[in-house]
Symmetry: C2
Subunit: 219 residues, 2 copies
């Protein structure tokens, strides 16, 4: 069986020391989206959204009208989780099936970012996390764009990184079974850029898009 069972036996590192912190950065920096957890009227909500990191601060953004972001900006904790699935662990028993993965979980109170310089830096980090090179290549945010955008900051103070890599760990007696066991790797790659049908003629795909390295590289 799967993940939660397996995870309890895996590397678990509180992000305290220097090494753990670089592991935390690596998992965050390799991601495209996070899953943001907030509590709304006592119930959890888990929302996929973009993020960016500057030093030891994680930034999120959203519409100023979005209920989930308003909730997150009130005093109270949020949880931000970034997960990379690297492969399936196919064991000799269903119980030891698992996932090879890297995951970072950040807890903390979300702070609404009001300072304009910090807001711009955060929005740049969020954009560059998803689409490196685009901030300087396209039109920057207008006053109207900025007015419509809420920015939140979460300190990377409380964080944990969990990873599992490698072959299955089966029960001793199961190794004799005539059953294939191993790992089925999962790869994520960029496809060919698809131009907007409304694209003006004669505008080539810039290299930062066409030559972008594939995402989620195993850390």
């Amino acid at each position: 069986m799967l993940s939660t069972t397996a995870r309890t036996t895996l590397n678990r590192s509180k992000a305290r020391g220097r090494t753990d912190r670089s592991e935390l950065y690596a998992v965050l920096d390799a991601g495209l989206i996070c899953h943001l957890g907030v509590v709304v009227d006592g119930s959890p909500r888990v929302i996929p959204t973009g993020y960016g990191r500057i030093g030891d601060t994680l930034y999120l953004h959203g519409s100023t009208g979005a209920a989930s972001l308003r909730t997150a900006a009130e005093p109270g904790e949020v949880c931000v989780t970034v997960t990379h699935v690297d492969g399936l662990v196919l064991a000799r028993s269903v119980f030891h099936h698992s996932v090879n993965y890297r995951s970072a979980m950040i807890f903390g109170a979300a702070r609404a970012v009001e300072d304009e310089d910090e807001r711009l830096a955060a929005l740049r980090a969020i954009t560059e996390q998803l689409a490196p090179g685009q901030w300087d290549a396209v039109r920057g945010p207008s006053r109207k764009d900025l007015a419509a955008t809420a920015v939140l900051a979460v300190a990377l103070a409380e964080a944990s990184v969990k990873t599992r890599q490698g072959p299955p760990g089966d029960e001793e007696e199961d190794y004799a079974l005539p059953v294939w066991a191993g790992v089925l790797p999962l790869r994520t790659t960029w496809g060919e850029p698809v131009p907007d049908p409304a694209l003006r003629a004669g505008i080539p795909v810039p290299p930062h898009i066409s030559d972008r390295p594939d995402p989620g590289g195993a850390g």
Copy 2:
């Protein structure tokens, strides 16, 4: 800028009607892991984990010792989110950058599954969601395995599906900018199976593993 802003303008379908329900099933059935949200001492926790679906019930499992699962099994809501990232939406302004994605969010009280038949069916569904064909190919759960495994059920009663597909939607005046715009598709594919170093000689990779269709196919 990114997702939350964009999502508010996207297709949002409450999973009520027949059509919406098949859309919900499609997003769930194409996934490998979910992000489970629970509330622990008033704070959200977002945990990546496996899941399975039987009809209108979503099943989760974990170690009987895992705090997050114990919390989820107490009265109180959980939120389960499954997200597929299909590509990046590269617009002519940073504000309209977005993600093409499919996401399902399930809310509800988690029920601890105690009936042995339902537990076995749930564990089979969870295993087959991650690794189709493995339940019948490997050793099934022992009494000891079952004793170590908690199973939770969440009804697919309250659910929402959000998707975004297609090219960027830019501000009218930005279409004149000399800026490339379009979509950078993201593909997930299975790599070559990697045998366990401890694999006995002469056991080939079974076809349900070697010929498995790539995951996350766009719904």
